[in-house]
Symmetry: C2
């Protein structure tokens, strides 16, 4: 079923096509993605058997019909199959009926594992021994781990001044780490140049390369399939084949909200919606609105949206707690901007205090510890509800991109120092108060 | 299907039974577990639908027929359904055909979520507003997060000198933290006393309380079901009902290897094997040998095994990197010792250097970052293979109890400092070497 790895790349904007491997950007300057608009798609009838290692039915490979590569025969890091959960306790905070997609439950703790797995599968398919990425966060960790699991060599390009904790995290999986002196933002373009040369003998899976975007789009396939199975009008029994009549309005959420940085993940979600609409599985009227959220101190895409511009321009950014999404010159920014407009959504920015509050509420009211860059999404939902763009009775899926346990934070614990001898008394004073 | 929450507690040793709530230890001093030895059990015929939130078919609740409580109606933290993966790249290191169960993919990053979820479900069932635990590691984090998700109040008892990073990790979910001055080892018994009094109005889910052991045993149910589905002689299609003829020797691993601390998880695995044997699903000849592994600096159970004693006695322990399993007076130690002997297994201890090596190999050859307390299990497999207790052609499942990303470690990165201008040259020098 898998689409061919010889599939062509296409520009979403001008429609030009290219062979995969030739280049990752169109001559018009916009990023490319795989031209896999299958005309027919049906939800898999095999149920996703978590107790089975058959790759075709689990995780991202469940959607191999729309991926440019096949599942590897075996892996110690099966990506995807993260849960979709209702977070009713946060409905009033969010101002809607809130569903969460905690991507931190992927093997390396973030959504990046989906795209990494596709990149690694492609490297294995094409007998490329090396894989690389430009990142000092989730993507670097994910790429290092998947390379280790697949027996590939891995290079990771990080800024020269990377904090030691981050370096230690990456070094667990022993990639070749290049600490690059110079303008880190330029590295992305430089490695693209290496990649398209084909001389480097290395597959780069950067934030918005076609292979990664293909893997990342499975988040949308997965959450839409989960949402459909949750919906009262959808077939409720496992094993019941999907039919076109099952794809009614109530089987899709009203909106999907996620953080945006390079625009790669945003592009992937939009691509999934386009494919599902084209194949008729999702009615045009049912396409969820896409909302992308940035941190206000670094919000080039939100700025372009707010100002009604056609293109995203680089900005001079300030520091933000949402370090993982602080990209002042996002390579797929204009594509993300287009996705938000095309689906009647928006791109918004939230101040760090709102992000902190959302992060705290997720941890204390839903038990979900996420990184600041994930919490911006919930802060964005609240902002959109406040503005009246999301209504209280709307069903909203918020993608929580990564676990918060991987980085230390300073807290203000409710902690009291007691003596063992006073245990019963001290406990009673708290429980009864 | 769920067994009644009024189920009785039984002592594995002397057979005495008690009502749940009366006490957690037998009058003979040994720990109790739920008396849920169902005479009939069949593997669920519903496939574990990861894309469905019906609790009865996913995660630990898939085995609700053998649990003392039912699934809560909804949760943001569905526990269980961790993958079972083949790690062929580590076969020669391990000296066997190695399968891994990475429990770090549970919502809070460790195996503890299984038992916590059962404790929380019980608290909700019995309208208990408070839940508590004695821990400063995975169990404390798990209990705090699940309490937050369920809207329960939570108390966590930690040593007065807990490191600030650990305190910050727990504090994310805002439990009431008691920093206890005095002998921390005694706290376990003290909270048991509070619990059995019933006066404290709080459900304690400590390491080997019956509720936790019930939840923890689902690891064994799950891995055996997964193993069965992987096996060539087992029904391969989802939805094919199990039959007694399917339970042949090849559908169970030869051995299960896991770290042991209090003995609670070891007891849970043993309980699962006993239940499955009793109901005829697992033939007596097919029961996997149970091997439990300790860190040599703190190995009271391994010492008792080695010396052929009937009971585990407290020891004076040294420091170990495997802090999470450094229990010098394990409350279910004798039960774990009995489980190892009963299944023709063993309890072994490994030096910290062996643990470091195993941790490194897991991260670099399987992409799995685990904590030292998990890596001891693989070090133990290697030790057992060296001794000839595990043969090269045997199928071994090693339980990796927790993620290694939650704690910082110092590494020696393969890192080189380069200038952006030298990128291509520097990359080529590494890739071509």
């Amino acid at each position: 079923m898998t689409a061919s790895s010889q599939a062509r790349l296409r520009c979403y904007d001008c429609g030009c096509t290219y062979d995969h491997g030739d280049r990752t950007r169109c001559s018009c300057g916009e990023p490319l993605w795989f031209d896999l608009d299958v005309d027919e798609f049906e939800w898999p009838t095999e149920t996703a058997q978590a107790t089975e290692q058959d790759p075709a039915t689990t995780g991202i490979w469940r959607y191999d019909a729309v991926l440019p590569v096949s599942a590897p025969e075996t892996t110690t890091l099966p990506p995807g199959s993260t849960p979709l959960v209702r977070a009713g306790a946060l409905d009033s905070f969010a101002g809607c009926e809130l569903h969460l997609k905690p991507e931190g439950q992927n093997p390396t703790g973030s959504f990046k594992d989906r795209g990494t797995a596709v990149g690694v599968a492609h490297a294995l398919d094409t007998d490329t021994d090396w894989i690389g990425t430009v990142s000092h966060g989730n993507m670097a960790l994910s790429t290092s781990a998947y390379a280790a699991a697949a027996g590939l060599e891995c290079t990771v390009f990080v800024p020269a001044d990377i904090p030691p904790e981050r370096l230690d995290l990456l070094a667990r999986h022993d990639p070749h780490i290049f600490r690059v002196e110079g303008e880190y933002g330029r590295l992305y373009e430089e490695t693209l140049a290496l990649d398209t040369d084909g001389d480097a003998g290395i597959t780069f899976v950067n934030s918005d390369t076609p292979l990664r975007v293909a893997g990342q789009k499975t988040i949308a396939y997965e959450l839409l399939e989960q949402f459909r199975l949750e919906s009262p009008n959808a077939p409720s029994s496992p094993g019941v084949p999907s039919s076109s009549t099952a794809s009614t309005a109530s089987t899709a959420p009203d909106a999907i909200v996620l953080p945006v940085s390079s625009g790669g993940q945003a592009s992937g979600v939009w691509k999934a919606l386009r494919e599902l609409t084209r194949s008729g599985v999702l009615a045009a009227d049912d396409v969820p609105r896409l909302y992308f959220v940035q941190a206000a101190p670094c919000d080039p895409i939100a700025t372009a949206f707010r100002e009604g511009r056609e293109e995203v321009m680089p900005i001079d950014a300030d520091e933000t707690i949402a370090v993982s999404i602080a990209n002042s010159d996002p390579p797929s920014g204009t594509r993300a901007l287009t996705a938000a407009r095309d689906t009647d959504g928006a791109v918004v920015a939230v101040p760090d205090e709102a992000t902190r509050e959302a992060m705290d509420r997720l941890a204390t009211d839903a038990g979900l510890a996420v990184e600041p860059s994930s919490a911006v999404a919930l802060a964005g939902v609240r902002e959109l509800s406040d503005r009246g763009e999301i209504a209280a009775d709307e069903l909203v899926v918020t993608i929580l991109t990564g676990s918060g346990y991987k980085e230390s934070v300073e807290t203000e614990p409710r902690s009291r120092h007691i003596d063992l001898a006073d245990l019963e008394h001290e406990l009673a004073s708290v429980v009864e108060s």
